[in-house]
Amino acid sequence: MSQLIKVSHLYKNYGKHHILKDIDFHVNNNEVVVIIGPSGAGKSTLLRALNRLDAPTSGSVIINGLDIAKKDVNINKVRENVGMVFQHFNLFNNLTVAQNIMLAPVELKKQTKKEAEANAHRLLKLVGLDDKFNYKIPQLSGGQQQRIAIARALAMNPKLMLFDEPTSALDPEMVADVLDVMKKLAKEGMTMVVVTHEMGFAKEVADRIVFVDDGKILEEGTPDHMFNHPTNPRLKTFLNKVLQA
């Protein structure tokens, strides 16, 4: 299996705060990696380093063969292949559902308007919302918005999808719809890195789980290893807390 992501000695500081400390991390093609850990551990920062929404302080972040930690890399080209889904959806409020999905492929000349439209219909069907094609964003529920955000990210046909706590801002009854879409993607072989507190999802879908605390990767392994035979004491405490809740 070839590596799509290879992170070495990644550091990230915000002023005097050291958010990430010497992270080594990789993701293979078609792999689903779930990042777990307490809040403030640096999970989101690690994820956002993978498309340089947070620029690394030092270290290398090689995505598809290109080190995006280097300033001379055309980051826009790299991002075209890396879809991202945010905790708060971040759908473009000034555009309709269809325009949200079609904007990037048409603006970046990946698809003609006609192709993009057909593609938008296909993706909306995939997330189960084709009837919302011409809706405005405020007319949709949170769960619907997040599924459309996934469709928007998929519209660029990315090689890799990043999910930053995609269900944390949702009402409980909406969570399942979004997770179902993500499971469907995983089954189709999409390479995914997911930051989440949904342990059920991690157990069921992840090929590998990475536990991050205090800016470091403390343990990683298969779901079976992580949930049934954890070795790191901090991971044990963390799992006790989340699984009891």
Partner: protein, 483 residues
Amino acid sequence: MKKRFWKWALGSLIAIISFSCLSLMGNQNSVKAAGEPTYQIGTDVTFPPFEFANSQNKYVGIDIDILNAIAKDQGFKVNIKPTSFNGAIQATQSGQLDGMIAGMSITPQRKATFDFSKPYFESGVVTAVKPGSDIKSLNQLRGKKVAVKTGTEGAEYADKIKNKYGFKVTTFDQSNDMYQDVMTGNSAACFDDSPVMQYGIKQGLKLKIITKPAMSGPYGFAVDKGKNKVLLTKFNNGLAHIKKTGEYQKIVDKYLNGKGGTPMGEDNSFFGLIKQNKTVLFNGLMETLWLTIVSIFFATLFGLIFGLLGVLPNKFCQGVSTTVIYIFRGLPLLVLALFIYTGIPSLTGTKVPAFVAGVITLMFNEGAYIAAFTKGGIQSVDTGQMEAARSLGLPFGKAMRKIILPQGIRLIIPSFVNQLIITLKDTSILSVIGILELTQTGKIIIARNLQGFKVWTIVAIMYLIIITVLTWISNWIKRSYKL
């Protein structure tokens, strides 16, 4: 990449600056190109009988008629620029004007900065009080207030004797305001040149003169020191000639002894004033609207450019934006207007037409406000919108144009309409540099007929009507965009 966005911002900036330069140069050329000598002469507009607009709103008066007679006699042309006394002084010193004639007394102090013609009129300062007042001499002014007009002989006289007689001095920019202050009883007396006061009383001004002319002072035509010698010589030659032919005496008699050029018989009722002045008031209103439209156009460009600079991810651009907003929002509009109109010609030697100076003033001032709320509006768009756009691979400029600006602009539309209304009102301040907009029109009408209260009421109603219409439009925009 950011490059495209940069190019766009820079291009607009260059366009706006070059436009300003072009319009300045264009004007200069037109002045130089005129083959016959045409002199720009400044005057006060509110100093009857020496200079005032008659009921047909033509500038007349002793000064104007003498100047025109001399110009005709000596074969040159004059373009009368009615500003204010102080405005004319500054504009003459800065080279905006070639000379000034404004009932200006020749004093040693003024001789330091001006070259004067031979005296063309002898005047003196008199004291006037309300008809019912028991003040009969200067001695009775102790502890009271005396109204004067800035920059006049009366003001200097008051300054000289205020300690001796123990009164306080209140200064005004307009003659009518000074008279009004005495008539309402705020000030016990006012000092003014005797012909001015005589003329005013003849027009029905409710004041009486209680002293003989003091500090007799000769009036002279003035040019900036060391400049325009030719013009000064022509004036002196012409003056000597029209005195010889008797034309000079005819002019003086017309204003001080006869009835010619007086606005007696005007209908000074509220509707009479409207009827009589409807054309000039309408022209003033049009000038106000035109000034507003041109200014808001450039102010919007200016504001958008500096507002957008402030949201670029670049420390230098943000610094430039913050500084520009700080400076132009911090300066009082009046100071900025006078600085641009009189300061820039002093620095560069280039004349700035009042209208252009006015537009530049408003562009900077209103533009700074527009820049501030543009910046704020864009910054208040959720950062997640930019992150989402960038995460899809859209370059910064494209993300700005397609996602951030449409949302930011929506947020700033109400502030923008508000700024438009403020700009309309702020044009009134430009009356100080002599732009004939609605407020200046009002001042000129009042200088002639001394009907301050009624004329200001008419002017105020005209402003209110326009602002009401703008407010309706603004509410309609807010409703239709569901802002």
